[in-house]
Subunit: 253 residues, 4 copies
């Protein structure tokens, strides 16, 4: 297998497609928003990205079959734009991996005719807000101005890490327009309210409708599932640490 | 030397071979089970896998000659299936290494005509059980059903790390059937009972007989040997740490 | 994108050019000095270096557009030598990255006819000095002697880490003359005084004039900006750590 | 520059050459022994190994010129065997680097006709001994037997890390005979006595004479120099850590 393998399930002909990224990040805001979009829009998976840069792990699914860790690409036909969703449980494990995976994603996007990207994320503030604001950043002044009309707030400083940043940074070099929408969030909680705020802006921009009622529920489920996974991983980690410290001296660091 | 070097000692013609993986992992269950199989079946080594992705170390053997760290491939002719064993003292040191080593293993397996894989491991629970259960996961629903007949238990969630997971995840993409058998285990002990439970299922599936009497003894030996190695490594580590902190500033991290 | 991508904005014809490196390091002395030179000389950017070896991050600029992390190359025409400045917010993230980025920088420098390099940095002493001295090291005895005439102090031991060292070490192998100027500095503060001391030596060597009045101000600004960024990053880090520990088990280390 | 660059200073015609490795390791025993051999035998440098896998750093020499971190190869003509010495201040920074550097070293050795290797190191015991023993391991039973005649002690277990191990493990695959001599040592001190014990065995095997009087002195010097470097590095590290934590968020780990 090559380092990054794109498994094409279908080659959709898309009309004026936009790419939306919803990978895990701060407060899981982007992931929640992206996953919710997928469920509500009933997007169709057309590609899977497997990579040596993702965790070396399979996930056991409900039917007890396994799935190798991957990122999925989904599409959905809308009136204004066809929509491509990039979703997954993980980002690249190292800085270099992050670059390689984002770069590959843009190869696929370019081939499909994408010239506009929305990346979704959270902006951690350390405090809880009732009405989370949506912060933005973009690849051009024109896009910034356009976002202001949707109530997006700007700070004029800061940094965006991981895929949400790189798809902008690497995308603009390919002549793509790209925008990052960041929901204000505490950071230490999985934040459905923040995801909703982000989706409220995004759906107005794309002129689509998405029912938000199941979003809070999903966040709760995610929180519970994470807690379970987290506990399980802690167990595994503890035992593997012991095993590895027995078997694999960390004499070189 | 290339990154991964497969040294072929013999090219066996195998009949309907299955691959069994028994590398170190949780509770050393998989390794114990695999090593025991090798001893009882008197498998024959036919290949060694050397790699830059394994620890940079030689092991001193009983006769005071050294052996470069490697994974070994063994075969054994059985009535139902010929059996290939993948054994070793280590897994790949980084996530990416894990992928590369599992991928290479599958290249070899494919060449030998393997279309069925069993990976053996432990599932850490943090508590001690008298009658450890055997948990499973597989690459297809049909395989899951088949395993249920052997009393294998399923949980419908979780993740499998390292070679035990990747051989399933990467193998299914090559059209191979693959199953992971995980013995319930505390995690903090080297668990012969759990390994026995796993072997009881595996031998019934493969219709082979394996005497278990020496397994507990082997676990004890392993525990002692590990303690020795662990103590020695702690010593070495302490002194190397000092040396490295003198010689190699960790100014970049 | 290749691992390191040099985006050429302009191909200047330069006369007897020298390369000056002012990347972040101890006390930010080199960065402060380099950035100040750029502002005062009104250098013109002619190339940007993007790389998978830099942090996977975009920075949000004052106008709310983003910029992918990069190192910039600037030039300025002077009477004695044309000057090339290498500036940026980051160095390579790993030892290997450091080598690759410095090696690439030298490729560019060589193409432009550079045969003399000045790298700027700090030498941390842990104590505060009113009149920081400027320490030096060079690629030849002749250069050392030349620097002594400018009051540069030598210690006859020590090491220089990162780009400030590698541009000397890799440059001399290409037949380039190279000098490192290190301002004496506490280390725990952003040190404008030390940067001024370094610039005083450098400008005399290059026979250029640079007004220092805004340097202290810039150091103050940098300190404030760093504090802001630092606080923000701490927030982000805290939340990402939690997220990553939930999502990405560090079972392999 | 390629990842590993061998700079050839001279191509000596050597008669029946043996390779002796004396890189830093436990108690610096191997390095002390190797460096002392060089001084006493007045070996001549014929090659330098530069690599992206070594620390990104130049060392400032007594004459204030810099030297890029490298490993040196020296030769010396002896009555029984010509001798090649591999010396340096560092080993590869990662497991993979260790393999690559040892593999490259063997390429050079093979080209020069080496078919016998001695690697020198320490075996840390945590206690101080007046008369340190010399432990051994080798690539064949015949070599083990030969060493026993020189009073070398064997333990029948353990592991050898880094170049001292890999030159054996990778060398034997090229048909080279190789031996590791490990001086018994506390581990937390730079141990001239242990280095002397190792040299006593080695010189008898090679039938050469080496005056040991300056060895203790050298160990003392090394200890002092290390202390100085260590203190300096601690300073630098402290300040760079601060700088890096300001500049380079470790948000991905």
């Amino acid at each position: 297998m090559e380092d990054i393998r794109v498994k094409i399930l279908e080659r959709p002909e898309l009309d004026n497609p936009v790419l939306i990224e919803g990978l895990p990040g701060i407060g899981l805001v982007g992931k929640l928003a992206g996953d919710h979009l997928l469920d509500e829009l009933e997007g169709k998976k057309f590609a899977e990205i497997y990579s040596f840069y993702l965790p070396p792990q399979v996930n056991i699914q409900r039917d007890n079959t396994v799935e190798l860790v991957n990122m999925g690409l989904y599409y959905w036909r809308s009136k204004k734009n066809d929509i491509i969703l990039l979703l997954g449980g993980f980002q690249g494990l190292t800085p270099e991996s992050q670059y390689r995976l984002s770069d590959k994603t843009l190869d696929i996007a370019e081939e499909l005719g994408v010239d506009r990207i929305f990346t979704l994320g959270g902006l951690g503030t350390g405090s809880i807000t009732r009405n989370p604001r949506v912060y933005g950043a973009a690849t051009s002044r024109k896009l910034v101005k356009g976002l202001e009309e949707y109530g997006v707030v700007f700070r004029g400083s800061g940094a965006i890490f991981g895929a949400s940043g790189l798809l902008l940074g690497l995308g603009m070099d390919r002549g793509m327009d790209a925008v990052c929408l960041m929901g204000e969030t505490h950071g230490q909680i999985i934040d459905a309210k923040s995801a909703e705020a982000v989706l409220n802006v995004l759906t107005r921009i794309l002129d689509i409708e998405v029912d938000m009622t199941k979003l809070a529920e999903k966040a709760k489920e995610t929180e519970e599932q994470m807690a379970r996974v987290s506990k399980m991983i802690d167990e595994q980690k503890k035992v593997m640490d012991r095993q590895f410290s027995m078997e694999q001296p960390t004499y070189i660091r």
